[in-house]
Amino acid sequence: MANSMARSFLQVAATEEVASPLRVVQIEGLVILKIIKHCKEFSPALVTGQLLGLDVGSVLEVTNCFPFPIREEDEEIEADGANYQLEMMRCLREVNVDNNTVGWYQSTILGSYQTVELIETFMNYQENIRRCVCIIYDPSRSNQGVLALKALKLSDSFMELYRANNFTGEKLREKNLSWVDIFEEIPIQVSNSALISAFMTELESDTPVKQCDYDRLQLSTKPYMERNVEFLIECMDDLSMEQQKFQFYYRSLSRQQAQQQAWLQKRRTENMARKAAGEEPLPEEDPSNPIFKPIPEPSRLESFLVTNQIANYCNQINGVAGQNFNRLYLMKSLHDN
């Protein structure tokens, strides 16, 4: 036993040295309740807030959070928002709350969060905090008795590419980065203080059926599925738009190459003629000629995000369909009885 303990300590020490990667996000029940309250009260408007906590080894502890007021497109109000944030942090510090930003939370509708804005926010946060997470909560899902909470971070290789703002096919191949590698989902753990645990045990009603059981056994998930499919179709449209962009690019690229070839051919015959006449050959490249100007390759970021989004919708549909099967068979057997 002592031996294994010693080894595990050694292992811990070994992992500490190589700046252990973020493995787990540990959230307090308080934070979950706060997030849910904020997101639900303003649903369907999308809201955000700040997460406070501690960074301990490979675990990121989220111990408190506070909501942001709904943002408006106004300079003055934006400055106001920054003030609000500072004020709130100061106030919370005074009552001994961990005064350390570890990320932010936001609500989403049907998991449609994979946007360029999210990545931009991530990069902003990442500049100041080495480790940050984004917690995503989906109020529409929780009506079905599911706790739709997700902790995300950007993968390191993606961040490197994003900083260089280089999303050409070549670079992506070099990094071996595909659309699945943009976001990393981090497993969530929930912790509560012993005091809260005691109170909750005290307050738990002794009815055998809980609200979430009712929600889970709800048979009508059609509106949810319909909207999910609608969103999926929209995404498909977006994806095909992106593909058209690429087709256009490849077409103009091949046209340009053909032009270049033709020009080169012409130049070579010209040079042959000049050689025969004993003159200096002209250079085989002409940077001033517009056909040699490289056509910028469209960024693949957008299509990656759309693909991610589609995969997400598919997962959701699969999940809910699976639940629905359960419900249907349950209903059937109940009815037979």
């Binding site: 849910i36 109170f199 889970r216 059937k332």
Partner: protein, 286 residues
Amino acid sequence: MAADDHTVLQLSTPSTANLSAKVHPLVIFNICDCYVRRPDQAERVIGTLLGSVLPDGTVDIRNSYAVPHTESAEQVALDIEYHHNMVVSHQKVNPKEVIVGWYSTGLGVTGGSALIHDFYSREVPNPVHLTVDTGFRNGEGTIKAYVSVNLALGDRQLAAQFQEIPLDLRMVEAERLGFDILKTTAVDKLPNDLEGMEVTMQRLLALIDDVYKYVDDVVEGRVAADNSIGRFISDTVASLPKLSPSVFDKLVNDSLQDQLLLLYLSSITRTQLGLAEKLNTAAQIL
């Protein structure tokens, strides 16, 4: 503080008669968290309760924050500036939540409470005072709500008394989340869709078994029949829609097919995505 003088005539304001309070679980969580993080020398934490008064007079307590304070034998000093800053900040996020009262940890009302209550009475008419016994002095976590009632003899104000009001502690919100997550000190993993479903089905099954057992017991005369329970059971059975087996089968099969179609659609989309990804990398290598 409560005037225990029994000779005074008590004229409680009529509005307190049907006053009750409802507490959101977040408030309890917040208070506990603040208590855990209280300064070394502090005996208790106090803070402001935010929420709204519902049309039927129920005070809906939805949010809270702690206010630093210092307390000695006979005086209490609240950080009023802090309190005002926090109110302004909270108002920015949710203008609908206003001050409805204040909370304190500890069992019941203590000496300094009247002073603080006085302060909050100036902020909002008829504030609610919530006490949360974080020390579990009775062996249980007592949570109580009070309002202050004026005691007067004729026109003369004599004192104020804390009167307990009914408190609704049903935690529907917490139930939504699942007590399993909130009850224990550590949960390794959030339950996913199907695991949650499994738990719910097991509960349902247990309930049905209970009903079966009860009915069997009654039929065999082991348990005395209770009419009200019998009525509940018959209501429950009657609430199942009466459908002929063929209609029901059609209904179930149609839904099943819808679901299968959706599943098929999403699987094929995923396959497409995977294929496109492979082709993309293959094309780049060439």
